[in-house]
């Protein structure tokens, strides 16, 4: 049962990923990408990583895709299909993608996977404590670094938005 669902989700994800890069309508590409991201969240839910799945939905599906859709709607002439790239460029991209996929497959096949003995639902309390502890298995440093990065990005966005306004009023 679980295996069947896994294969269904995976095949759908692969199909939508291919459609997303091959479609010439940019809005449809985004929607296919959204389905791929939702599929990833589905896989997380299947292995009971509920928190990771919900974060995947919020950040990627609910946040980034909405941002993409928003910015694409501001772009001119979205109704026109995208230009077809040159043949050698497509060849190069294909070669790079195949190499990457091949490397990943080799890495997966050469790794000796062990069957998981305990499948336990990780509570949100443990995740929260791990984020804020500085001892063993604590993630306080990356957590704080990321918050500073986000703060810097926000301040940068505000500064960029402000300067234009000042120039206009002058």
């Amino acid at each position: 049962m679980e295996r069947i669902i896994f294969y269904i989700i995976s095949i759908l994800m692969i199909v939508f990923a291919v459609m997303s890069v091959s479609n010439r309508n940019i809005m449809r590409s985004i929607i296919y990408l959204l389905f791929v991201l939702i599929g990833i969240a589905g896989l997380y839910f299947m292995v009971q990583f509920y928190f990771l799945g919900a974060v995947q939905l919020t950040v990627y599906a609910g946040g980034i895709i909405v941002l993409y859709v928003n910015s694409i709607m501001l772009v001119e002439k979205i109704n026109n299909p995208l230009d077809v790239t040159k043949f050698w460029k497509r060849l190069l991209a294909g070669a790079i993608a195949t190499t990457g996929a091949g490397l990943t497959l080799v890495a997966i096949w050469s790794h000796n996977f062990k069957e998981a003995t305990v499948s336990k639902e990780i509570g949100i309390n443990e995740i929260g404590k791990a984020f804020l502890s500085y001892g063993d298995k604590g993630y306080i440093l990356p957590f704080e670094v990321i918050s500073i990065l986000l703060l810097a990005a926000m301040v940068g966005a505000i500064v960029i938005a402000k300067t234009n306004k000042v120039k206009e009023s002058n």
Partner: protein, 350 residues
């Protein structure tokens, strides 16, 4: 009693087929049940909205079809089903047809997390509230797509307005939920209800909880695109906003989802502030069906407040809407979270 019914069905199915098949069939049955709840809720709330509108405007509202006009919305739904599905020329038909399903699927998924009573709670995971917000954040894509794929300027403007509005107000809804989670100490919905056995959270958290409740109600009105924040479909300026070009059942999907979202927002308010399905002072704790009754009463009460807003306040302008969110609600919310954390830390809560 209702638990007995569930176990009876379970055993009946086990007798007929293998365990795995019974499991799948039960999942399908639950899903069908929730679809039924979805439709009934939508129809009932539309009827309620029209009756309340009549009440506020000193008229009767629907009163001819069935007792108190109860079957009016069913007649409307039948009419909508029988209507032709139209679309605009040169619209992106694929996305145009896909868009309503985003809205309706997310509403259905959120419905699974709502605890109707102790017994009836389909999906109770340890990140319940977080999952609810993350699922409902996808719904906005359906509205965006509808606005874009309709190939209509009014729809596009409506869609863009929704995006701005829902992304902004999602922050306030999320932050007021976080404020209450600080007090409750858990994200699991059933546990949040359980800890309110000795007092609703709005009393336990007093001042910050009250502020959080007010912010939640304002932001919840905006999240469900209701007046005074219904710039998305402002009739006088935009026709009907993002769903101008939708007809028949496609339109009905948006309409139903809007009312189910209202129910979900109200249920979250009831769970967070008013003790969910718990009875006041535990007077009916021993009766198995009572939770459903209390939950229903509380939710209808909160829904009535939302409807009261709708028929009392005029519509905001878009700049007023954004000013309210970013310059007032968000700072209030951030200070409120700190206040609530202080209260919990110093043990000033009841």
């Amino acid at each position: 009693m209702i638990l007995n019914i569930f176990t009876d069905i379970h055993e009946l199915l086990l007798g007929l087929m293998s365990e795995e098949a019974a499991h799948i069939l039960e999942l399908v049955l639950i899903a069908a049940g929730y679809l039924g709840i979805f439709a009934i809720l939508g129809l009932l709330l539309v009827w309620l909205e029209r009756r309340v509108a009549g009440f506020f405007q000193l008229r009767l509202g629907p009163n001819r079809v069935g007792p108190m006009g109860l079957f009016q919305t069913i007649a409307d739904a039948l009419k909508l089903v029988s209507k032709e599905l139209t679309g605009t020329v040169k619209a992106d038909m694929q996305l145009y047809k896909l868009a309503p399903y985003f809205v309706i699927t997310t509403a259905l998924m959120s419905l699974a997390l709502i605890p109707f009573s102790y017994e009836i709670h389909a999906f109770d995971i340890n990140i319940g509230l977080f999952f609810l917000t993350s699922v409902s954040s996808i719904g906005v894509i359906g509205i965006f797509l509808a606005g874009w794929a309709s190939n209509n300027k009014y729809s596009l403007i409506g869609g863009m307005r929704t995006g701005i509005q829902m992304i902004s107000y999602e922050l306030s809804v999320g932050m007021s939920i976080v404020t209450m989670v600080v007090l409750a100490g858990t994200l699991q919905i059933s546990e949040i209800v359980e800890i309110q056995k000795d007092g609703w959270l709005i009393f336990k958290g007093h001042i910050p909880a009250l502020i959080a409740f007010m912010v939640f109600m304002i932001a919840g009105t905006a999240e469900s695109n209701r007046t005074p924040f219904d710039l998305v479909e402002a009739e006088s300026e935009l026709g009907a906003g993002f769903h101008t070009e939708y007809s028949g059942m496609n339109f009905a999907y948006y309409f139903l989802a809007e009312f189910v979202n209202l129910f979900i927002i109200s249920s979250v308010a009831v769970v967070l502030f008013f003790g969910g399905w718990l009875s006041p002072f535990g007077i009916t704790d021993s009766i198995p069906f009572a939770g459903l009754f209390w939950f229903g009463i509380k939710v209808v009460g909160v829904i009535f407040i939302f409807m009261w807003f709708r028929w009392t306040f005029p519509r905001f302008r878009i700049d007023q809407l954004l000013t309210l969110e970013w310059k007032y609600l968000l700072p209030i919310n951030i200070v409120n979270i700190v206040l609530m954390a202080l209260m919990v830390w110093l043990g000033l809560t009841f």
